[in-house]
Amino acid sequence: MDKILVSPNPHLHSKTTTKVLMRDVVIALLPAVVVSVVFYGWKELFVLAVSVLSCMAIEYLITRYCLKKASTLGDWSAAVTGILLALNLPSSTPWWVVMIGALVAIGVAKMTFGGLGQNVFNPALVGRVFLLISFPTYMTHWEIPQGLFGVDAISGATPLGVIKEGLMQGSTVPELMASHGYSYSQMLFANIGGSAGEACAIAILLGFIYLLVRKVIKPWITLSILGTVAAVSCVFWLANPAQFTDPLFNLLSGGLLLGACFMATDYVTSPMSTKGGIIFGVGIGFITLMIRYFGSYPEGVSFAILIMNSTVPLLNNWFHQKKYGRA
């Protein structure tokens, strides 16, 4: 014992550090990553690698040379953004588009606000939406899964896209479902077309359960999104099954599960309180469905989450923790 250490209480600290939390998110994303690589092949692995590496490189360069601070790569948050961005892109996205996405995600959505913890909007989603608006050709050019060893890529549209297109041309939902041969089991285990993270609902749910078990996140936001989507689509579907898709289809298609489990639950851009989280989730679910049913885009999860991100400061202001001894 050299010099006695003196500090205010408490003298013990939880082992769950930011790094551990972020690493848990990466671990939770692994099933989705593995499945997407298996389904979409080497190209997907390439997109993932480019996305993660460029996110980390951009964060490093900005902290090191613009902010002149110690590197924050150790907290793994840039890696999480990179993986999420890649899972939100089609596997056919060219490398330079991925890099632009990473630059917008980290450089604009995260670092300009002051880095981890300060950003208002989910960085990966900002990157994705930026690309969706700027490079619609690449972003809606989905490839039909050919597997790890598939030879020729066949391009096509996502189920949501197919149905939106079909409805505009006057077909009905059941017709379209049947003619394209969409089945729920296929959607649960291996999606037909879409961004990489939409490949397999089971893989995403596995990751979600891991996060719950590790107490990284609480289930309320995810459950309220899924519940709202199910309930609202149920109402529309029952009213007019020819025009509106059914709840199960809505839950399993598109990026809803990925968004609800991993993007909406992002600490920084979601409300702190349980009540706020539930309202946040209801908002996301509702806006998603409105875009899907009435919007011009086939998919609305990204927009819904970003719109609700902007309400978070307000929700944090309105809803607080239940305090002891104060009714």
Partner: protein, 314 residues
């Protein structure tokens, strides 16, 4: 086509007029009538809003000064006499001039003089540290070195010296607003008279412990030996709770105490010449010797007189 344009112009213009009217009415309704002198006084103020005057900011000071009957309780330490003259002119009051002051750090427990006895592992804040314990040295009174004073200074006049671990006051920038003195949980920083050409003497220690334990904790500390008090011929030095204090109103800047201090706890700053310790020491010792001799002689004389008196009586 023409009607559309006309209608558009009419509606937009009407709307504009309506809104302008609303704005005007609201402005009239919520108009705050303020003494125009408040604004004048505020303009004369430095505008630092430091709170050094004891008011929340320059506006609060101006408001209070205008309402006050005189300026006895209003003095802006930042702007000093010049600002106060202007304020007095605006309000037609008398102003009492004050000697310029400066913040003085009364701790010289440098890293070498005051060895660290523990390692602090908490927030870098003097307040937090002070509420936790006496500090990471043997001295329970000295500077904690976390820089609360630096953070409190709105004028950038304070900085931590990494070599000593103590704050340093930039006299040019210090406005004597007192924010640092308030921020220091150990009450080390004191506002003292700046002195002629910045020259001043002060005891750079506030340790109230008894000599031996102080000496163990810090080589530069005031040990309360009282030599300075005995040396001072102006009655400027008081010794209370084992620590000396120099009254800057009485100090004549003779530097004798500084030369005599056995630990170097008394600091003199901005003197043109370096302290000639030996010469002053010799001078003081000579004077004290003479005084001793004189008092001995006086005592002797008194004794002789006494004896004579007795003799004459007898």
């Amino acid at each position: 086509m023409t009607t559309t344009i006309i209608w558009t112009i009419a509606i937009i213009s009407g709307l504009g007029l309506l809104l302008a009217l609303t704005l005007y009415l609201v402005a009239q309704r919520f108009k705050v009538v303020e003494d125009p002198r408040i604004e004048l006084v505020e303009k004369a103020m430095p505008g630092a809003n430091c709170g050094g005057c004891g008011f929340a900011g320059c506006h609060a000071f101006a408001d209070s000064a205008v309402k006050a009957a005189n300026l006895d309780n209003h003095y802006c330490p930042v702007g000093g006499n010049e600002t106060m003259k202007k304020v007095a002119e605006i309000l037609g009051y008398e102003v009492k001039e004050k000697a310029p002051m400066v913040a003085v750090v009364r701790c010289n427990g440098t890293c070498e003089a005051r060895p660290r006895t523990s390692e602090y592992d908490g927030s870098i804040s003097c307040k937090v540290k002070a509420s936790l314990y006496a500090g990471d040295t043997g001295c329970a009174f000295g500077c904690l070195g976390c820089g609360d004073c630096v953070a409190a200074c709105k004028f950038g006049a304070l900085s931590m010296d990494p070599a000593t671990g103590l704050p340093v006051v930039d006299e040019e920038k210090c406005t004597a607003c007192g924010a640092c003195a308030k921020a220091c949980p150990k009450a080390i920083i004191e506002l003292r008279k700046k002195g002629p050409r910045g020259m001043r003497e002060y005891v750079s220690c506030v340790n109230k412990d008894k000599g031996p334990s102080v000496k163990k904790a810090c080589a530069n500390a005031c040990i309360g030996c009282g030599i300075c008090q005995k040396t001072c011929t102006h009655g400027a030095i008081t010794l209370e709770n084992n620590v000396a204090y120099i009254d800057f109103e009485k100090c004549k800047l003779c530097r004798e105490c500084e030369a005599m201090c056995p630990t170097g706890a008394i600091h003199g700053v901005n003197f043109p010449k370096p302290l000639d310790k030996d010469a002053i020491k010799a001078r003081v010792q000579e004077r004290q010797k003479k005084a001793r001799e004189a008092s001995a002689a006086a005592a002797e004389a008194a004794k002789v007189a006494e004896v004579k008196k007795e003799e004459s009586n007898g």
